[in-house]
Every structure is written in C-alpha cells, then in structure tokens.
C-alpha cells in the first residue's frame, strides 16, 4: 500500500464511514450531467469526452468542475435512485448545482486545488478517508 502524503482533499460533504475504496476515474474536462451522463446506466455519453462509454457507477469521480443545465442535480439524484451513482466526487471548483445535486443525493463531495495531482491515481483502486487523506490500495 503506497501512501501519497502530499495529496489531501478538503471535505465538503463528508463520508458517513471512516473511509471508502473505489476505482478513481479522472475526467480532464468539465462534466455537464444533463447531456454527458446517461442517468440510468451512468455511462458517459459525451462523444468528445476521453471517458466516452465509461460507466461512473461506484467510481471515485474526479473532474475540474461541473457545468451545464440546471436539471443537473436531478441527473445525480437519478443515478442514486437507480443505484449507479459514483461513490464520491472530487472537483477543483464547486458550484451551486453540483453541491445541490450531492446534497439531495447523499453523494460525498471533496475538493482539491488541482486534479493534476490525482492523475497518477487514475484507474487505480484508491482509499479515501473521511478527513480527506487519500492512498492507493
């Protein structure tokens, strides 16, 4: 187990448990929930996204920020209802819609100053602690 001591996340909506584990998925581009994510399957449906066709279900989803339609929170809520929501979301910049979506869907939300610092963990199984510590499993 290698510990990345340099990286620490700021908790915005904390985990309910002490830690969770999941595969980290890093989207280098911002995500617009309505239009970019299929609410039933959780697949990324934006053809221009490097994650096109990938499911975000049960992943630790990392993106610079979220954007787009104000229906966005309902898309996150739908993912949760259909049991295909990401386990946790990490962004550089927060906005009202992402926060609203995470609050009504009970999706933990963490912040980092630069997602570049998580690039080397992309597609790896990682453990995130409630306090924001993160390590590769």
């Amino acid at each position: 187990m290698s510990i990345n001591n340099k990286v620490r996340l700021t908790p915005l909506i904390e985990l309910n448990s002490n830690y969770l584990e999941g595969v980290m998925l890093v989207s280098p581009t911002p995500i617009s929930p309505l239009g970019d994510i299929d609410p039933r399957t959780s697949e990324i449906i934006d053809p221009q996204s490097p994650l096109y066709g990938v499911s975000i279900a049960s992943k630790i989803l990392v993106a610079p920020y979220f954007r787009g339609s104000t229906v966005g929170p309902y898309i996150l809520f739908s993912l949760k209802k259909y049991g295909v929501a990401p386990k946790l979301i990490i962004v550089e910049q927060v906005d009202p819609m992402l926060v609203t979506g995470c609050v009504i869907s009970n999706i933990p939300l963490y912040q980092i100053n630069s997602i570049e610092r998580l690039r080397n963990l992309s597609n790896k199984l990682v453990r995130v602690y409630r306090n924001g510590r993160i390590e590769q499993v």
């Binding site: 239009g35 970019d36 229906v71 209802k81 259909y82 927060v94 009202p96 609203t100």
Partner: protein
C-alpha cells in the same frame, strides 16, 4: 450560519415538514458554498419540469414534497415542460409519459407555482436592479444578472423549488457585490450584429473565463434577440452566469480596471473556431428542420419574424417556433397569421426538453439549442441567422 428566529422555526419544523426539508437543504448547500446567512428572494423560477429530463426520480422527488404539503412563499414560475397540449400529435410521447408530465405540473401548481412553462420568466415579471432571485434555467439567470442587474446564482431545479418553499436562498455567489466585480477584461474586435454571432461570442467567453466575471467591450447590435442569444450561450459554457456588457449592464459602474487580472482579445477567428466546434458540416437540405425560439420568443421577436416572412424575406413553411403561453396569448393574431403561412408555433415547451418530431438535421439561430440538440437528441446541427 446565522439564521433569524423565523428561519430557525422553519428549520426545526415549526412551519411544517416541507419547509423544514427545504430549509435544511438550503442551509447545507449554503454552508458548503461559504454563506454566512440567507437572503430573502422576490421570485423563484423552477427548472426541471420536463418529465423526459427528470424522469421517475424527479417526479418522485416532487411527489414527496407535495405529500408533505409544500406551498410556495414567494412569486414562483416554472420552466418549459415536454408538451404543448394543443399540438400533441407533433410530439413523440407515450400516454404514460404524458400522464406523468401532467402530474409534475399539477403537483407544482398545487404548491402555488404559476404554470408559466417558459424559460423567459422576465417577460412575466421584470426583475429590478439589485433584487435577489432564485432562478433555475441558466439562460434566464444570465439575462437577469447581465441585463437587469438582479442577483441570482444559477440554481439547480431542486434548490429553486426549496427557495420557493422557504422564500429564501443562501447568501453566497452572485448575491454578493464582491463576487459581481469583473476580473477579466474582454475586447471584441469583430462586430456582433445577429443572434448567431452573439451566441458564439457568449459560448466562447464562457469557456475562456473559467468562472470569472468578464467586462465585455464589444460592438454589439443590442436588441432583445442578441442579448437573449448571448446570455443563453454564455450560460451554457460558464458556471458563473454574470458579465458586464459595456453600454447595457446597469451595474456597469462597478467596473474598475484595478481589479482586472486578465485581458482577452476576441477576433473573428475565435468565433469561427467556436462555430466549427459546435456544428456539423455535411448537409442534405431535404432532411432539415428549421427552429427559432431558444430562448422562447418575446412579442417583438414574433412580430419581427412575421415581418420578414410576410415580405417574403424568409421562407416560413415548416419552421418550428417556440414561445411561452403568455406571449402566445398576447400575440395571438400575429401567430395565427404565421401559422397560416405554414409555421408551427409551439408553446409551453421546445425541441430541447421535448421529443418534438424533427428531421435528423436541425438548423437554428440558437447556439444553446445547437449545443443541447446535438447531445440530447443526437441530431446534426447547423447555425444560421434568421436573415
């Protein structure tokens, strides 16, 4: 977070369960976004009305609030739905979907939300300078901030509904003067004289400012159509839908070059690159559908289109035009004339949030419509001005 005594009562359930649910969510969102208190609003505009977008989970969410006797405390309006009930035959919608769509609108009307079914709430109630609003619908949010100097964040549909139920939203983001000060100076070196160019400029600026507020120095033909097109496209690509437009924004006086951190020059080249990114090139003209009305057309815009059509300057046969029921009623006579020339005028909805029957190639003057039609409906798109 500081709460007044009334707000504390709302939070702990003394004003009913629905108010308490709404208040808890607003406080939580506000705390995360750094709000020290709440702010009273005068108008909530609720998005997330189309059943085709919010699905069963969205309907269940609204049903849940309704079952807790939710009522709005302020003037509240709603965004478009997925149907024009007077023209059901031109939509691909099942009986079940239609029933669920009607249910969403009914539940909200029962809560006291006006069934305006439009993305242009500013025609129904004009926002005042400095007024606090909680609006969903990004294009309207940008228009309220930029053109009227009212203050609203781009709220998600559920939060706008919570704000309607409590009459409040969190005091953060664009509600604070300090967050409305431009940090980016943008000089536009090409004349913006129609809705397509205004949309391309808005989309490009939204992409490059990365959430900062720009002061935009441009030669723009300022009319309702260009300002709406600019606002809608800008709100499509930015997270912070506010800007100061030289000569338009009533808050122009708060522009101070001392706060400018970045200067950006926009030439014709950037607009062409943006166009190429958004549209498809190959076209078989026989399969096209023309669409005008994103955002919903206002009365003067309807008159303008009719003027062009009646003088034979544009072909109107088969064009889809979308507007609100408010404007539809006010411009009834002119709309009847447009329809007699072959236009299809729909109210309460638009091709983005519905499954209006269209060909597989859409030509529109709206950058926002092009962006979403391509993604949500997998049609090819082309941008062209009405002229």
């Amino acid at each position: 977070m500081y709460l007044t005594r009334l707000e504390e009562k709302m939070l702990n359930g003394e004003l009913g369960e629905a108010v308490s649910i709404a208040m808890k969510a607003i406080v939580k969102v506000g705390e995360i976004l750094g709000a020290s208190r709440l702010v009273e609003i005068t108008h909530s505009h609720i998005s997330g009305i189309s059943y085709l977008n919010i699905g069963d989970p969205g309907l269940e969410f609204i049903e849940y609030l309704s079952s807790k006797n939710a009522r709005v405390r302020v003037f509240s309006t709603m965004n478009p739905s997925s149907i024009d009930e007077d023209k059901i035959h031109i939509f691909n919608i099942s009986k079940e979907e239609l029933a669920k769509q009607k249910k969403i609108v009914e539940l909200l009307v029962k809560m006291g939300v006006k069934p305006t079914l439009t993305c242009t709430p500013y025609y129904i109630r004009k926002p005042k300078l400095g007024e606090h609003l909680a609006w969903g619908e990004s294009s309207a949010v940008a228009y309220a901030n930029i053109v009227f100097g009212a203050r609203t964040n781009k709220e998600g549909g559920p939060l706008a509904l919570f704000a309607a139920i409590t009459g409040r939203t969190y005091y953060a983001g664009l509600h604070l003067e300090e967050n409305r000060i431009p940090k980016v100076y943008i000089k536009v070196n090409t004349r913006i004289d129609n809705a397509v160019k205004a949309g391309l400029l808005g989309y490009y600026i939204g992409e490059v400012v990365r959430g900062k507020i720009p002061y935009i120095d441009a030669t723009i033909l300022y009319d309702e159509s260009t300002l709406k097109a600019f606002s809608a496209a800008y709100a499509t690509s930015t997270t912070t839908p506010h800007a100061l437009l030289k000569g338009v924004s009533p808050e122009e006086k708060i522009y101070d070059k001392e706060f400018i951190e970045e200067r950006i020059i926009v030439d014709e080249k950037e607009l062409i690159e943006t166009l190429n990114k958004l549209v498809d090139q190959d076209t078989n003209e026989s399969r096209k559908t023309l669409f005008i009305g994103c955002p919903h057309l206002g009365i003067s815009e309807i008159h303008y289109i009719y003027d062009l059509a009646s003088k034979g300057k544009i072909g109107i046969e088969g064009i889809i035009i979308s507007t609100s029921r408010y404007v539809y009623e006010k411009a009834k006579n002119i709309i009847a004339k447009l329809e007699s020339l072959g236009a299809i005028v729909v109210k309460d909805t638009c091709p983005i949030v519905s499954r209006l029957k269209i060909k597989d190639y859409l030509i529109t003057n709206s950058v926002k419509a092009a962006f979403y039609m391509k993604r949500l409906h997998k049609v090819k798109v082309m941008l062209r001005d009405v002229n």
